[in-house]
Amino acid sequence: MSKQEIGSFLAKQGILIAFAVFMIGFTLANSRFLDPDNVMGVIRSSAILGVMALGVTFVVISGNLDLSVGSMMSFSTIVVLDLHDKIGPALAIPAMFAMTLCLGAFIGFLVGYLKLNSLIVTLGMLSAIHGLTLTYSGGQNMDIADKEGTWFSVFGQGDALGIPVPILIFLGLAAFLGIMLSKTPFGRKVYAVGGNGTAATFSGIRRARVVFMCYLMSSFCVATAGLIQASRSLGSQNTVGQGLELEVLAAIILGGASLLGGSGTIFKTVIGVLILGFIQNGLLLVGLQFYVQYVVTWVIIILAVWLDIAAKRGRLWSPIA
């Protein structure tokens, strides 16, 4: 292998190599790291983030961003907890899904049909939905009155075949959406719109509709994540999803999707979610403060973006872009 080829290999596989180094380091530092209970715990606690990342993957591949998912998840959680006691869980869940999908449709309309910049729209919605949630809850924490006697806890706390339900939902949804993205005409159109929206239009693809559907998909996943969150804790603050939008993006970028659109897969996103989960868990196990992970998450995002660009140009640094 020439020097150039080694460079390009390092750049391409950089994230996996870095991940392997982290894993080995954590295992040496704390033998509990690879313990099956710990591993299962990591996957389980990654499930909420993971479910959200699945939806945002569609948005990112279509060439847009979604920064509203964190506060939208708070909204879903608060709404479903509130309605649980008012109309019962069987009605609360579909009502919450409908309301969250409306938010997604609204964003999809603004970005898809009105062609507004997705960064601005979803950044605005991050704040607007947060305000909506606080207005809805009056700023109070939301709790279910009878925490012992509701079947609603099954989504966050239940087990099936010995596997926690959140993991089953995450992996099941990942499989379903993965197939949708890679095998259906809709999935193909998402890649085309993100890869070159003009060429997609020139091929007769209704671009606005595709973008709209991606945001609908994203809000569906957020509603699912909110359901798991609500069911796990049966009570919640208004800010439960705060900051998750960045972790979601970090996971997607770690998986190797380009923020410019047109590339990425559901499988890669799942890998990205797990890498992020294991690194955050490892940092806790080696005794670092929880707050350090905010810093580390950002270091990881920047590293991932750098390696992504480096892989494209075949070397780590270049005078021309």
Binding site: K183, Y191, A192
Partner: protein
């Protein structure tokens, strides 16, 4: 000229990339005051040669001489400092800045405290602009200039150094005929000042009009240098592609069928007015005119990208309304757009997915895309159009321009359209692939397609079209049959000098 020292000389340059020998012992020399054409098909090594000279790549073997001195180009800035200047096909200007700032970007004259010395800057710039006889001044915002004038800014930038050799890479690609004349004058001026000019273009007429010598590359190898005055297109082409090329007029050899598409009184604001024409199955209808004459806009209207302000479109005698590309496709109208990379292809997608993109909703097995059916469509058109690619999984962005264009054409043929519109079918495509695409268009007509070809190249419309619509300033000036048309009357028509429509 023989005992003079070359301005710039390459000797035995070799540059390899993993798996490719991009330059294989390339040597040529540019004399001061000569215009030297560098020709070759896409992938022949022209761009790599430029990158080696410009300090972007370092050669594996061989030497670059500036004057008589062996020289190493360390970086693009270094190359510029040594007097080797490039005018690129794609302009690299900051639109929001003034002409002067663009020209002296990175080396703005400064006063105390690091403030820009605007007076000196504008004075120096105006001095250079004077030489170029341009209509704008140092303070003009670059974004307000036409493409041709932006190119002048690039040239002005080249003149700030003591240039020994200036490379022009496809400089006329987006220029009108009038703008070309100005460019050629500038080149002649540079020539008089003793600068060596390297002129890279696919356009033979220009090569024969302005160059002194022609060096040809093929597959990374130097194939020889010809004196322009002692050679002809045929010889150059043969050197470039290694075989002979048929450029003669094609005669209509098959029956023309009924009218597939008819346009009556079509107008679209200021872009074009009262356009009438019809195209029959089995014929190629050419649209010729200057850039901005309204040709592309008509195509965009037919394809549902622009709504007309008046007039009607009839297909098989029935009036149709087309509001989106999806409508147009459903009616059997296909458009191979003028900007292949921007409009025609998703460059990061593979060949197969690009080709089947418009019909991905129709190729279904249950809820899924029928990938087997896609592969067989791809294989069918790869064979039919002779697309050279290792396989359908190849990313389209890695193909040559000619093969990319064939993917776009294949994409629409596989939809079995009744009208195929092709806008600038061979823009940026090398000579060999060019004639293949011309033959293909002729053949499609003979198979009963109604084909509309829009082109800015006269030899192209004369070669492929059975009838030619000449446009000027948004109006149809005249429709020629292939018996009537000559180069002269066609030029007159598109300059607004004759014809039944009168220029506004």
């Amino acid at each position: 000229m023989t005992d003079q020292q070359p301005a710039l000389r390459l000797e035995g340059i070799v540059k390899t990339f993993p798996g490719v020998r991009a330059l294989d012992n390339v040597s040529f020399a540019v004399m001061p005051g000569e215009v030297h054409a560098l020709m070759g098909e896409n992938g022949a090594g022209k761009s790599t040669s430029m990158k080696v000279l410009g300090g972007i790549y370092q050669p594996d073997e061989g030497t670059i001489y500036v004057g008589e001195k062996p020289t190493v180009m360390h970086s693009p800035l270094d190359a510029k400092a040594k007097g080797i200047v490039f005018i690129h096909q794609e302009l690299s200007l900051a639109e929001e800045l003034s002409v002067a700032e663009n020209i002296y970007l990175g080396e703005l004259p400064k006063k105390r405290f690091g403030l820009v010395d605007w007076d000196t800057l504008y004075a120096r710039t105006d001095k250079i602009l004077e030489k170029l006889k341009v209509s704008f001044n140092a303070k003009t915002r670059v974004g307000d200039l036409s493409i041709a004038n932006q190119q002048m800014v690039e040239i002005a930038r080249a003149l700030t150094v003591d240039a020994k050799a200036v490379f022009f890479d496809e400089p006329t690609a987006s220029l009108t005929d009038a703008e070309k004349v100005v460019l050629f004058e500038v080149i002649a001026d540079l020539q008089k000042q003793g600068v060596g000019i390297v002129y890279i273009s696919h356009r033979m007429e220009e090569i024969f009009k302005i160059t002194d010598r022609i060096s040809v590359l093929r597959d990374g190898q130097y194939r020889g240098t010809l004196n322009t005055r002692e050679t002809n297109e045929e010889e150059v082409t043969q050197l470039m592609i290694g075989r002979k090329l048929d450029l003669s007029r094609s005669a209509l050899t098959h029956e023309v069928g009924d009218v597939a598409l008819e346009v009556r009184g079509l107008s679209c604001g200021d872009l074009y007015r009262d356009v009438d024409f019809e195209v029959r199955r089995g014929e190629v209808l050419g649209f010729y005119g200057l850039v901005g004459a309204g040709r592309t806009e008509i195509a965009e209207t037919l394809f549902g990208l622009r709504d007309p302000s008046a007039g009607k479109i009839l297909m098989d005698g029935q009036e149709v309304r087309i509001h989106s590309p999806a409508d147009a496709i459903a009616r059997g109208i296909s458009l191979v757009p003028e900007d292949r990379k921007g409009q025609g292809l998703v460059l990061g997608m593979n060949c197969r997915d690009n080709m089947t993109l418009p019909q991905v909703d129709d190729l279904k097995a249950g809820p899924f895309v029928a990938e087997g059916a896609e592969v067989s469509i791809f294989d069918q058109y790869r064979d039919k159009l002779d697309i050279r690619t290792p396989g359908w999984k190849q990313t389209v962005g890695n193909l040559s321009g000619g093969n990319q264009q064939k993917i776009v054409i294949g994409k629409w043929l596989s939809m079995h359209p009744s009208v195929l519109i092709v806008d600038e079918p061979t823009r940026g495509i090398d000579v060999g692939s060019k004639s293949e695409i011309h033959n293909l268009l002729r053949e499609l007509a003979s198979q009963g397609y109604a084909v509309i070809v829009i082109s800015s190249e006269m030899p192209e419309v004369l070669h492929v079209a059975d009838r030619i619509v000449a446009m000027f300033n948004g109006r149809v000036m005249r429709t020629f049959t292939s018996e009537e048309v000559t180069e002269d009357n066609l030029i007159q028509a598109i300059s607004g000098l004759s014809g039944d429509g009168q220029a506004a």
